[in-house]
Structure formats: structure tokens, C-alpha cells
């Protein structure tokens, strides 16, 4: 495991911010950390980075304590903290060169430009960071995180401030990295990021992990992947199929919820056998959004 966090409890300024957080991230995996504002996502990330000491529980990165063995851990991870700042008087190349040197690496000017180009950042010659747009700064931060080709990336809101094309570019970069075995922990508010990128997610509410696991499994277990729209050729037969509930009708289109305990394909077979003349099946959008809203409503553990 690249990251293992279990029963993490952490106080800041006398207030308990994290009560019970758990997560685990393996190689080649993209893990999305979700939760409302103030839930404790960034604090969890700070603990994983070794910036904050837990009061209880365990935090292991590469199997090591990130506070006790900070230099060893930091040498092998790339991070993009929330609200990361830059040295406005430097050029992008100089900035990357400075950080590369702190990692004991030396890059030629062309290699530095190549590193910037990898994140689609092509500043004007001599352009200082002070004149970068927010999106350019975000890309520069990502270039810094990727500077030493780390096996682990910890990214806090990596697509924040990017336009749709920029977000898609970052998605492609992260998916490519995961294919090469890089583990990525990312905190985000954007469910589109999660939908496109994440193999597993953890949802934190008021400092507690209320759900963790594979996105499809969570949707299944929590029953938020179970609403479908069916186009029927004719009325459905009056006999009820026990694990299907009709929610709405709009002409030929019928909205149904199916029982989470039943596999979808078995349900369609049962309906067809029961006389339903199904012409089309569409899964209702927003499954992940519904799951997120349900789990974060009221702050109670699911």
C-alpha cells in the first residue's frame, strides 16, 4: 500500500477536526477524497503529507510514518497542496529548476521547458509567474508535483481553476500516470473528476469517513445506482414485480427503481418474462451525485 490511514483522529487549535478517518491507496489506483467544505479533507491530506501530527490512529505512507521519516517520504511523493503559492518574481522554468535542485536533480533549460509542456504550460520567454493566470499556476503546481516522477501523487483540488479543456487534459495526464502504476490521492469537489478518474472513493463528513470503496460498489450498496428510465411498447402488465417500483411516467417512458439486492440484468429478465415489452433502458444520471448528497446530508454516518 502506498497510503494507509486508519482511525485517524486529529485536533487543531483545541478543536477535533478529524474523529475517525480511514483510507488506503495502492499502486496504480486513483482515490477520490470527497466531502463538504470543512469536512476534513485537506486536514487528512496534511496528515498524510506529514504536516500535521495525529492525536490517535495511524498514518503510513510507503509503510513509513510521514512525520518521523519526512525526508524519505517526501523524496518519493509529489504534492499539490490546496492554495499552493509560488514565487511571483521567478519564471516557470526557474521555479521548476529551483525545486528540482532541492530534490538533488539538475535539469537543462530544454528539459525544464519539456516538463512545463507536459502539463500544457507554454509561457512566453521570460514571463514571470506573477503574470500567470490561475489555470497556468495550477498547471505549474502540477508540473512541480510531477517533477521527480514520483510513485505517489497527493493532489488537493488539482483541476480547480482550469477550463473544461484544461480539466480534461489533467484527467488524461492522471489516467496515464495511474496506468503506469502511480498511486494518486486526490481531494475534489468536482464529481465529474471522480466519475472520470477515481477507482475508489472515500467520503468524509465532519471528520469521519462515512463511506469508502469502489465507486460502483458504493452506488450499488447505497442504492443510488438503481434508478432507470424504460421505454415500453405498451402498458406494463398489472401484476407487480416485487423488486421493481414504478416512480414516474412520461408517455412511453417509465421511471423505475429496482431493488439494490437484485442484479440489474436479472431484473430485466424478470420484467420481460412478466410481459413488460421493454424497447430501451437508460440509467438515470446523477447516481454519484445522489450518493454524495445522501451521505453528506445531516453529517450522519451511513
Amino acid at each position: 500500500m502506498l497510503i494507509e490511514i486508519d482511525k485517524l483522529r486529529l485536533r487543531l487549535g483545541g478543536a477535533v477536526i478529524l474523529h475517525d478517518v480511514r483510507l488506503s491507496l495502492g499502486e496504480g489506483e486513483i482515490y477520490g477524497l470527497l466531502g463538504p467544505n470543512g469536512a476534513g479533507k485537506s486536514t487528512t491530506i496534511a496528515a498524510a503529507l506529514g504536516l500535521l501530527a495525529p492525536d490517535a490512529g495511524t498514518v503510513r505512507v510507503f509503510g513509513r510514518d510521514p512525520r518521523q521519516e519526512a525526508r524519505t517520504v517526501h523524496a518519493r511523493l509529489g504534492a499539490l497542496p490546496e492554495h499552493g503559492g509560488f514565487y511571483d518574481w521567478m519564471t516557470g522554468e526557474r521555479y521548476l529548476g529551483f525545486f528540482a535542485a532541492l530534490y538533488g536533480r539538475r535539469f537543462s533549460p530544454s528539459e525544464l521547458r519539456d516538463r512545463l509542456a507536459r502539463v500544457d504550460l507554454v509561457p512566453r520567454v521570460g514571463q514571470t509567474i506573477g503574470s500567470y493566470s490561475r489555470g497556468m499556476r495550477q498547471r505549474l503546481g502540477l508540473a512541480r508535483a510531477l517533477l521527480v516522477d514520483p510513485p505517489l501523487l497527493i493532489l488537493d483540488e488539482p483541476t480547480s481553476g482550469l477550463d473544461p479543456r484544461g480539466r480534461r487534459d489533467v484527467h488524461d495526464i492522471l489516467l496515464g500516470l495511474a496506468e503506469r502504476g502511480v498511486g494518486i490521492l486526490l481531494s475534489t469537489h468536482l464529481l465529474d473528476d471522480v466519475d472520470r478518474l477515481c477507482h475508489r472513493i472515500g467520503i468524509i463528513v465532519e471528520g469521519r469517513t462515512v463511506a469508502e470503496g469502489n465507486v460502483a460498489d458504493l452506488l450499488w450498496v447505497e442504492g443510488h445506482d438503481r434508478r432507470y428510465r424504460l421505454r415500453l411498447a405498451g402498458e406494463p402488465p398489472p401484476a407487480e414485480v416485487g423488486h421493481v417500483a414504478i416512480v414516474d411516467r412520461d408517455g412511453d417512458w417509465w421511471t423505475v427503481d429496482i431493488d439494490p439486492a437484485w442484479p440489474a440484468d436479472a431484473t430485466w429478465r424478470d420484467l420481460i418474462a412478466g410481459g413488460w415489452r421493454i424497447a430501451e433502458i437508460h440509467r438515470e444520471g446523477g447516481g454519484l451525485e445522489n450518493l454524495y448528497l445522501a451521505l453528506t446530508a445531516g453529517g450522519t454516518a451511513a
Binding site: 467544505n37 476534513g40 504534492a79 497542496p81 503559492g85 525545486f99 532541492l102 538533488g104 512541480r144
Partner: protein, 255 residues
């Protein structure tokens, strides 16, 4: 290149290439210009002799240098934290002590720059007498630990306090208290409280040494006691900064 030198170089860039650093240097130079103008005028009116003018200017350079060092020291930790650029630095595989030393180097460079800027002003007020060399020497020997101590004190404050502005206000109060001998004058310093204050105040130690060497023409080697007071201050401030930087972390909860 060593990470310490890299970070010190970065801090130098913040001072000499960033608008914020240059603005502070401009402000300090303007203060020196104002005082130099007053002192040159007093000399020409024969209100002050050359030794007294050099003594005053050296004291002012020390106070202005300490103010600049305090600001730079605060900015290297608290300022960077508020701008969000400290965390990426802390996440490099550089030891906290390496980061500390690099940032201390940045404070030292600020004092070297300030000293360099002060030389023309000292020359302007002291070139007509025999006290310029003594002034420059005592400033280098006794002013340096006082000034660097305030820079390190600023770093320690910046590491402990959640806001740079709070650290600046506390640092300014400490600086004004310490530099009060420059304002209060010699008579108050003869009282018991004044003598006790002098015995522990690094600023007083430096000013007493300036007085002895520049005005009374004593040997600089006779200022060992004053030098010890300033070095103790420097050591305490260094300890304060080191302890702060080692435990520096974000102090506000976040999402």
C-alpha cells in the same frame, strides 16, 4: 548546490527581485536619507561634532537594519505561509534545519544589503572626521548580532503565530522597547532600572559600544562584555527561530 544555498539564494531574490522586497529597501533608504540630511545639517551648523554624528548614524542604521531584518524574518516564514508557498518547500526532502539555515541566510543577506546601503550615508556624515572607520567596524561587529537576532526573532514569531500581521506588531513592540536607549538618552540610563535594562538589552550593548569606540575613542577590544550580550541575544533568537521552524505547521483547520 547545497539546499541551504539554494534557499538563501531564493530569499535573496525575494528581497532584490520581488517588488515587495524592493519596496522595503526603498523605505529603509528613504529613512536613512532623512536622518542623514538632518545630521549633515546639524554638523554644518556646528550643533554636533563629527563623532556624535557618526555615533547617531550608526545607531540609526542598526535600528533600521533590525527593522528590515524583522520584516524579512517574518516574511520568510509567516509571509510565505500566507502566500501558500511555504508548504511546497516543506514537502521537499530538505531537512527543517536546512530550510532554517537557508532562510537565516536570507536574513543575513538583507543585513549585508542594508549595511552596503548605509555606507554612503555614513560616509556622507562622517567623512570629514576620523570616526568613519570606527563606526563601520563597530557596526559590523556589534550591530550584526543585534540585527540578525531581530531577523531570527521575526522568523520564530512567524512560525508560532497564525498571522504575519500579528507577528509584525509584536516584533515592532519588541524592537521599539529594545531600541529605546536611542530615544531615551544617557541620563535615564544612569538610573538603576536603566542600568538593569542596559545589562540585558542587546541594543543597549551595541549602543554603549558605539559610544565607547566612536565618541570616547576606546579600543574595540575593550568591548568584549557588550559583544557577549549581543551574541547571547543572537543565540537566544536563533534557538527561538529553530524551535519555531521545526514545529511549523498550518494552524487553521480546513476543508
Amino acid at each position: 548546490m547545497s539546499p541551504i544555498l539554494l534557499i538563501a539564494g531564493k530569499e535573496t531574490g525575494e528581497l532584490l527581485l520581488d517588488l515587495r522586497g524592493l519596496a522595503w529597501l526603498l523605505a529603509m533608504t528613504a529613512v536613512l536619507s532623512g536622518f542623514a540630511l538632518l545630521l549633515v545639517g546639524d554638523t554644518e551648523l556646528s550643533l554636533l561634532d563629527n563623532a556624535q554624528v557618526v555615533y547617531d548614524m550608526v545607531g540609526i542604521v542598526t535600528a533600521v537594519g533590525a527593522l528590515l531584518a524583522l520584516v524579512v524574518g517574518l516574511d520568510t516564514i509567516a509571509g510565505e505561509r500566507e502566500r501558500g508557498s511555504l508548504v511546497p518547500l516543506l514537502l521537499t526532502p530538505v531537512a527543517r534545519d536546512g530550510i532554517l539555515l537557508g532562510k537565516l541566510g536570507g536574513v543575513a543577506v538583507a543585513w549585508v544589503v542594508m549595511y552596503g546601503l548605509a555606507v554612503p550615508y555614513l560616509w556622507a556624515v562622517g567623512s570629514t572626521g576620523q570616526n568613519l572607520a570606527a563606526g563601520l567596524l563597530t557596526l559590523a561587529l556589534l550591530g550584526t548580532p543585534v540585527v540578525l537576532g531581530f531577523g531570527f526573532f521575526g522568523m520564530g514569531l512567524g512560525a508560532r503565530l497564525p498571522m504575519a500581521r500579528t507577528g509584525l506588531l509584536i516584533g515592532l513592540i519588541a524592537l521599539l522597547l529594545a531600541a529605546s536607549p536611542l530615544v531615551l538618552g544617557p541620563s535615564l540610563r544612569q538610573s538603576a532600572i536603566g542600568r538593569a535594562f542596559d545589562a540585558v538589552n542587546p541594543f543597549s550593548a551595541a549602543v554603549n559600544a558605539y559610544d565607547a569606540v566612536i565618541i570616547d575613542s576606546q579600543a574595540i577590544t575593550a568591548q568584549a562584555a557588550n559583544l557577549v550580550v549581543t551574541l547571547v541575544w543572537l543565540a537566544l533568537a536563533l534557538w527561538f527561530a529553530r524551535a519555531g521552524v521545526r514545529r511549523v505547521a498550518r494552524t487553521s483547520p480546513c476543508g
